[in-house]
Each structure stands twice: as structure tokens, then as C-alpha cells.
């Protein structure tokens, strides 16, 4: 969201290094290295998140709460303590809690503790929520978050695929007919992407839900949820239309504008003229000589736009009452549910890392420098 969304992103200069390994080995090699690099990156990112969150001592609070709850449960279930007075029991719990805190290292300096919390975060052991629970009744933050994740993933993979495919095809079409009326209209519309998806969501709710009544105001399925799977899916689809369109609308024009510009820049290269002169068909020229070198740059800019999508999602889900991670974060922030807030922030860091990693692999598969054996750090 902080990046100027301009289409020019010169890619790194490649240092050609001829090799004789097979493509598969190189891709696996590249992927492995990227995976390690990305894992370290995610770890540092999560660690920084913890540092930020803990500045007010909130992570400690989560852990203390967790310990107390565990101890209280175990004392409550233990027959031996049934006969204690509540005073005695409280004293006993306090003693156990102090012991447990010492065992968990809460009396250690923060630096050491932050690493143990990092371990918890990396293994998604995110603690317990005080006032929130998952629909299945669990109060483990991991369960709460994992329960919401599919809804978010459904919404975002759908809109991302839609954006990607429509973007590429329209951009190709426009680069073929550049200067046409449609081309100029889309270039003119590109500035509309300055507004995030939730902003257009408001307009779409107003128009299609409030005024026309074609689609529901929000939610995942209609209430009560339909019994049969087919009807359930249809209901979800019906609810998905407006948020997906909102995401689509907020990023498609800038996406097309950027991709079309790349296509145009690359279609003016000498080797493209050469290919045309050889008499190759337009389709072949497009696929082999224009698309191929453009793809890595497009994937890089996609990586940036998808990160913007994730953050737009927090408000978008709130506006559409979409029961995903973003709305969870919003609800948690409203009732000050620290463990869920920190937990979802960590999960967001994960999701971003995985997104970037995934696009890196795609990049490795399509970047001729990786495929043919160029330098490793393709996405410099």
C-alpha cells in the first residue's frame, strides 16, 4: 500500500552463467534456496511483530493468562484439591502459577523469552483467548484463526485468479490494439485504483444491495444455512459476488495498465521485430517473444499488488461481514483481545511470506534466467 503503483519496475541485471544442469534440478535448487531464505525472512518478520506487540508487555500477559488458565483447570479437575477452601486453593494456584512461570521462563530476561514466544508463533502455538471462541467452542487462538482462514482464502484466491486472468488477457488485447478507444478508457480509469477495495465495496453495497436488492448486504451464507451442499455453495457464491467485484474493480484497471505497458515496451524490442520479419504468426510472436520475457516482471508487480490485497481485506471483510481473518482481527481489536490480535498479525506475516514464496516459485518456473541457468537471486 505504500508503494507508488507505477508500472515501471526495471528488473535486475542478469549475470549470465552457463550451466549444464537439467531444468528440474535448477528449479528445485532455486526453490530450495528460496524456501530457506523465505523461512528465515518469515522468522525475522514474525520476531519483529512480536517485538512490536510486546512493547506494552502484552505478550507476557497472554502467556501469564494461559498459564493461569491451565493451572486452574488442572487444579479444578484434581480430586485431591476438592476439599480445600477457596482461600487455600487460590494460594495453591498462585504457587503453581509461579512455579509454572518459572518453568516457562517468564522470569527470564525479555530477550530470551522473546525467542521462546517466537517458537510458539512459528509453530502456531498462539495461546488462549479470554473473551472469544471459535464456532466449535474452542478458545485456543490457533483454532479460532484456522477456522476463519478458509473464508479469507476462498475470497482472495477467487478474486486474485480473476484479476490475474482477466488482467493478462485484457492487457494483451489492449497492447494489440493500443490507442483504441477501449485502451484509452482503461488508461484513463487506472487512477481509480488509488482507492482500496472496501471503498468500492461501500458503493457496491449501496447500489446492488440497498437500491437494487440483487445481492445480500454481507455475510458468507444466508441464514439459516441451506441444508443441501449445492444450495449452500450457491448461497456462498451469491454472497461472494459483491466482495469479489469490489476487489476486482479496485485493482483491475491499474493492473491492466501496468501489464499493457510492459507488453508494449517488450513488443518494441528488436528481437520481436526480427521474429515478425521471419514471418512468425502473431500468436507465436506474442507467446514466445513478448509474454515470456514480460512474465517475470508481471509476477513481481503481482506480488506487490497481492500484498495490498491482503491489507485491503481487513476492512473489506468488516464491511461485508465476511467471516474471515480480517473481520476476526477487527472484532478482536474492538474487544481488545490481545492474543487474537497478535495471533492474527503473526498469521498475516505467514500468509504474506507464503504468498511471496509461492510467487517466487512461479517466477522460477517462468524466468528464463532461472530456467536456463542464470543467477540465483532472480527476483532482486
Amino acid at each position: 500500500m505504500t508503494d507508488a503503483a507505477l508500472p515501471l519496475q526495471p528488473d535486475a541485471a542478469s549475470a549470465e552463467r552457463p550451466r549444464t544442469q537439467s531444468t528440474l534440478t535448477r528449479v528445485v535448487h532455486y526453490t530450495g534456496l528460496r524456501m530457506i531464505a523465505m523461512f528465515i525472512t518469515i522468522m525475522i518478520g514474525v520476531y519483529l511483530t512480536i517485538l512490536i506487540a510486546n512493547m506494552g508487555g502484552h505478550v507476557d500477559k497472554i502467556r501469564r493468562g494461559y498459564i493461569r488458565e491451565q493451572v486452574a483447570i488442572s487444579v479444578g479437575f484434581n480430586e485431591e484439591f476438592k476439599n480445600m477452601t477457596s482461600e487455600e486453593r487460590r494460594a495453591h494456584i498462585d504457587k503453581l502459577v509461579a512455579l509454572q512461570e518459572k518453568r516457562m521462563g517468564l522470569d527470564q530476561p525479555f530477550l530470551l523469552r522473546s525467542f521462546s514466544f517466537l517458537w510458539g508463533a512459528m509453530t502456531l502455538d498462539l495461546g488462549w483467548a479470554d473473551n472469544m471462541s471459535s464456532d466449535s467452542g474452542s478458545r485456543m487462538v490457533r483454532n479460532i484463526i484456522l477456522e476463519r482462514l478458509p473464508a479469507t482464502l476462498l475470497l482472495f484466491s477467487t478474486s486474485f485468479m480473476l484479476n490475474f486472468l482477466v488482467g493478462i488477457f485484457v492487457a494483451l488485447y489492449l497492447s494489440r490494439n493500443y490507442g483504441s478507444r477501449l485502451d484509452r478508457a482503461i488508461v484513463g480509469l487506472a487512477p481509480t485504483s488509488a482507492a482500496p477495495s472496501w471503498f468500492y465495496g461501500l458503493f457496491f453495497i449501496l447500489l446492488f444491495a440497498a437500491l437494487l436488492g440483487w445481492f445480500p448486504f454481507g455475510g458468507l451464507v444466508s441464514a439459516p444455512p441451506p441444508d443441501s451442499i449445492v444450495n449452500y455453495a450457491l448461497s456462498v457464491l451469491n454472497h461472494m459476488v459483491l466482495p469479489v467485484i469490489a476487489i476486482f474493480f479496485s485493482s483491475i484497471f491499474l493492473g491492466i495498465y501496468g501489464q499493457r505497458t510492459f507488453f508494449l515496451i517488450f513488443s518494441h524490442e528488436d528481437y520481436v521485430d526480427m521474429a515478425r520479419a521471419k514471418g512468425l504468426s502473431d500468436r507465436v510472436v506474442e507467446r514466445r517473444y513478448i509474454m515470456r520475457p514480460t512474465m517475470p516482471t508481471i509476477v513481481t508487480s503481482l506480488a506487490l499488488s497481492i500484498i495490498g490485497l491482503w491489507f485491503g481485506s481487513i476492512v473489506l471483510e468488516t464491511i461485508f461481514n465476511w467471516p474471515g481473518l480480517g473481520r476476526l482481527l477487527y472484532l478482536a481489536s474492538n474487544i481488545f483481545e490481545t492474543s487474537v490480535i497478535v495471533g492474527s498479525t503473526v498469521v498475516y506475516a505467514y500468509l504474506l511470506g507464503i504468498t511471496v514464496f509461492f510467487l517466487d516459485i512461479v517466477y522460477a518456473l517462468i524466468d528464463p534466467r532461472v530456467k536456463v541457468g542464470g543467477n540465483q537471486g532472480g527476483q532482486a
Partner: protein
């Protein structure tokens, strides 16, 4: 100066840039005006003042201009009294001596009602001057067709507000129709879909005072359904204030954030390129980590745990954006020009590293910074709105985002209060488009590769 003039003349060839520039100039001028006309403290006081400040405004009233649409004729708020305030004789007050001890102070409000809809509520604000014996005020409503409806009898002790909608006896007398409808309804219209009777209404507040110099004053407010140019929100606040003050806030936030992030990113990229080696590698790795830091959730945490002040948020946002991916773009361009011979010349005469970076390297590339900077401004304006919609807006300042947030929380779209959403949204959109259009045109001016595309 010539560079700026040349840029402007190049921009003038793009109609969208001219429109965008006009929008930006208008916004800047208006912002300066509003900050002078309603100073910061006053704006905050008005916005946070609660219902006391806005007592005489209707709740969630639409803007007045909706009456310009055909077939719409919503009532405006009618405020009358106390007697002697206005020049006309719409409010008349007379004293009649009833007996030695009692005097009747009769205030009569006369007004025309011509709207097609009913008012929102009716309130009478009574004040009295007396020493011991409290005045007794009885209220009577006179309709255009000469019906007489008794409203209530009130003893006045200090300031008293009579809210007609809360007078249960009155409601019973009106066959359980809400008083603001029952008092104005045409008796001939359908009871299920009552229409207001147009004409001249009168309210007589007859105050019986028991002391010689005692007095009763009354002020009648018939709350309409439209208010001002922008309407009001659920706390009766005039939205115009927030819409107007939102502009300097949005401009300041967007501009500062854009300057802060683009300049710092630029400097970091330049330093990395100039020193190369480890410094460059470290900066590159930090950028990769920064890419996966969840900016918005971190902002939410900061807002919840530390401070919601818009300026704290701004600082955190800039800090998180220093190592943004913009570094990669700048780095590639810096790498190209680093080889220019004049850097060698600078080194030959003994210039220090930072002298070269800040006096030779960075100024050379400022033109490439400008388009990105301009395009970034609206995205930061929207960041502010995003935070506000997440209930993390500045606790004091009225901003566009907070208006949107209030509207959302109060189900404005669901209940048909579209103006509440549309007004701040339109302002956000227009200002965002203004900057984006100029930025895109600038990009084409400064990037010759794009010029023909």
C-alpha cells in the same frame, strides 16, 4: 524554476493532469481557508462537544439539497423564539393579569408547514425566572383546520425540555400515533399512511406565574428531516464540519506520509548503492523482510496498545515504509547513473561520501521520485480512512474516514442514509483521483519510455 515551468507546460498537454491540478490547488486553498476560519481547537471542541452543542439539529438528517430532487419535499427544521428575538411577529408574548397573585404569560408560536413528510421530533425548551413558586405552563396545539389539541402541563424549574414524542398521555390522546405525526397528520388521510396537513400551525404556551416579576420564556424546535449542506449524523452533529476539516487532515496526512516514505526510501537506496557491498546487501535483505511485515495489523496493534493519535500512526507508517519495495526501483536507477564520470570527478577533488550522495546522486534523480510521490499521496489518504473505519481514527479530529466509520457503525446504508456514506466517499474519491491523475501524467512526462504509450 525553469524545470518546474517546463514540467507544468508538459503537464498542460494532458487534460486529466489539468483537471487533477485544479482539484489539488482548490483543495489546498480550501484547506488553508478552513484552518484559519475554524481553528484546530474550535473544530475539536465542536466535534467532541456532544449533544449540547448541536441540541437544535435533527438526528441523521439528509442535506437540504435533496429537496431539489423532483417529488421530494422534506421539512426543514423550524426554530422559533424566545419572544423578541426575531423581528417578525411569529412569536408573540403577552402578559395577562388573572388575579392579584397570578399572571398569565402567553407565548404563541405561529408557523407555516408545507412539507410532504412529518418532522422528526418536536421539542420545547422552557426557562423561567422566579423566586419560590414555580410557574405552570400548559401547552396547546392549534392545527390549520382549527382543531385544538392539549399537549401537556409542565411545571418549570430551571431549564425544562418538553419532548413531545415522550409525552405518553399526548400519544394516548392521539390514538397511539406518535405525536410528531399525530399533531401534523391530515385527519382525512389514510390512517395507515398519514399525510401531513399543510397550513399554519400554532402552539400556545400559557404560563401561569405566581410572582409579580416572574417570567417564562420558551423556544420551539420542530426538527426537520433535512439540515444544512451536508446533513447531520447520529449525534446531531453537522457533517459539514467534518467534511470541511477532513480536507486539511487528509492533505496533511497524505502529503507528510508520502514525503516521509518516498524521501527516506530514496535516501536509503542511494546509500546502499553508493557504499555497495555489505551495506547494499543488508538493505536488500531488510527490504525482503519488510515486504512480509503485515503493515495494517501492526498499525492496528499500535493503535490499540499505544496511541490512536493520527501523528503517531503517521510515524509508524513511515517507519514501516522506509524499506518498502520502492527501494528496488530506485536502486536500479541509481546503479545506472553511479557509473557517470562526474562522480569520479567529485571523488577526485576530495568530496566525502555523504556529500556525493546528497549533493550529486540524489538530486540527479529527483524527477523520477516525483510521480511515485504524487501517486502515493491518495493511497495514504485512504490509509487514514481505513484506520478510521477500523475504529482506530484519531480520537479528537473530525476526518472523512471517521464519518464513514460512524455511518457504517450506524448501518447508514441499511437504513437508507446514503448521504452519510456518499459525501465523505465522494470527497475521498475526488481528492484521490486528483492526485492520481497528476501523478500518472507526471510519470509519462518523466519516463520517456511511456510517453508514446
Amino acid at each position: 524554476m525553469t524545470a518546474i515551468r517546463r514540467t507544468l507546460s508538459a503537464l498542460s498537454q494532458y487534460p486529466s493532469a489539468v483537471v487533477g491540478l485544479a482539484i489539488i490547488v482548490a483543495m489546498v486553498l480550501f484547506s488553508i481557508y478552513i484552518v484559519i476560519a475554524i481553528p484546530y481547537g474550535e473544530a475539536v471542541d465542536l466535534w467532541r462537544g456532544g449533544e449540547g452543542v448541536w441540541l437544535e439539529n435533527p438526528r441523521t438528517a439528509q442535506p437540504k439539497w435533496v429537496n431539489l430532487f423532483p417529488g421530494v419535499n422534506l421539512p426543514e427544521t423550524i426554530i422559533m423564539g424566545p419572544a423578541g428575538e426575531a423581528d417578525d411577529d411569529s412569536v408573540q408574548k403577552e402578559r395577562k393579569e388573572v388575579s392579584e397573585e397570578m399572571t398569565d404569560v402567553i407565548t404563541t408560536f405561529t408557523f407555516d408547514y408545507n412539507a410532504d413528510e412529518f418532522p422528526q421530533e418536536i421539542s420545547l425548551f422552557l426557562t423561567s425566572e422566579h423566586e419560590q413558586k414555580r410557574p405552570l405552563v400548559s401547552l396547546t396545539w392549534l392545527t390549520p383546520d382549527a382543531r385544538e389539541i392539549r399537549i401537556a402541563d409542565v411545571t418549570v424549574e430551571g431549564p425544562v425540555t418538553v419532548r413531545f414524542s415522550q409525552e405518553e398521555k399526548l400519544q394516548r390522546r392521539l390514538d397511539d400515533v406518535r405525536p410528531e405525526i399525530g399533531l401534523f397528520a391530515d385527519p382525512d388521510s389514510d390512517a395507515d399512511d398519514p399525510r401531513p396537513l399543510k397550513g399554519t400551525y400554532r402552539l400556545v404556551a400559557a404560563g401561569l406565574v405566581f410572582e409579580d416579576d416572574a417570567d417564562v420564556d420558551a423556544r420551539l424546535v420542530v426538527y426537520g428531516q433535512v439540515y444544512g449542506l451536508a446533513g447531520t449524523d447520529h449525534l446531531r452533529r453537522d457533517l459539514m464540519l467534518a467534511l470541511m476539516w477532513g480536507m486539511p487532515v487528509a492533505l496533511a496526512f497524505g502529503l507528510l506520509a508520502a514525503v516521509g516514505t518516498s524521501v527516506s526510501t530514496f535516501i536509503v537506496a542511494a546509500i546502499g548503492v553508493w557504499f555497495g557491498g555489505i551495506a547494499d546487501a543488508v538493505i536488500q535483505r531488510i527490504t525482503e523482510v519488510n515486504l512480509i511485515l503485515p503493515t495494517l495489523p501492526i498499525l492496528i496493534m499500535v493503535g490499540l496498545f499505544f496511541s490512536r493519535s493520527i501523528w503517531v500512526m503517521l510515524g509508524v507508517l513511515i517507519a514501516l515504509s522506509v524499506f518498502s519495495s520502492g527501494i528496488k526501483t530506485s536502486r536500479a536507477i541509481f546503479l545506472q547513473i553511479k557509473e557517470s564520470p562526474y562522480f569520479e570527478a567529485a571523488r577526485a577533488y576530495g568530496a566525502g561520501n555523504f556529500r556525493i550522495i546528497f549533493l550529486y546522486l540524489i538530486p540527479r534523480l529527483i524527477p523520477t521520485l516525483v510521480p511515485g510521490f504524487v501517486v502515493a499521496i491518495p493511497s495514504f489518504v485512504f490509509v487514514e480512512a481505513t484506520l478510521a473505519v477500523l475504529n482506530l481514527g484519531d480520537p479528537l479530529l473530525p476526518t472523512w474516514g471517521k464519518v464513514l466509520s460512524d455511518a457504517r457503525v450506524n448501518d447508514a446504508l441499511y437504513q437508507g442514509n446514503y448521504y452519510w456514506v456518499l459525501e465523505p466517499a465522494a470527497l475521498l474519491l475526488v481528492s484521490g483521483l486528483g492526485f492520481a491523475m497528476v501523478g500518472f501524467a507526471l510519470d509519462r512526462v518523466f519516463n520517456p519510455r511511456l510517453r508514446d504509450l
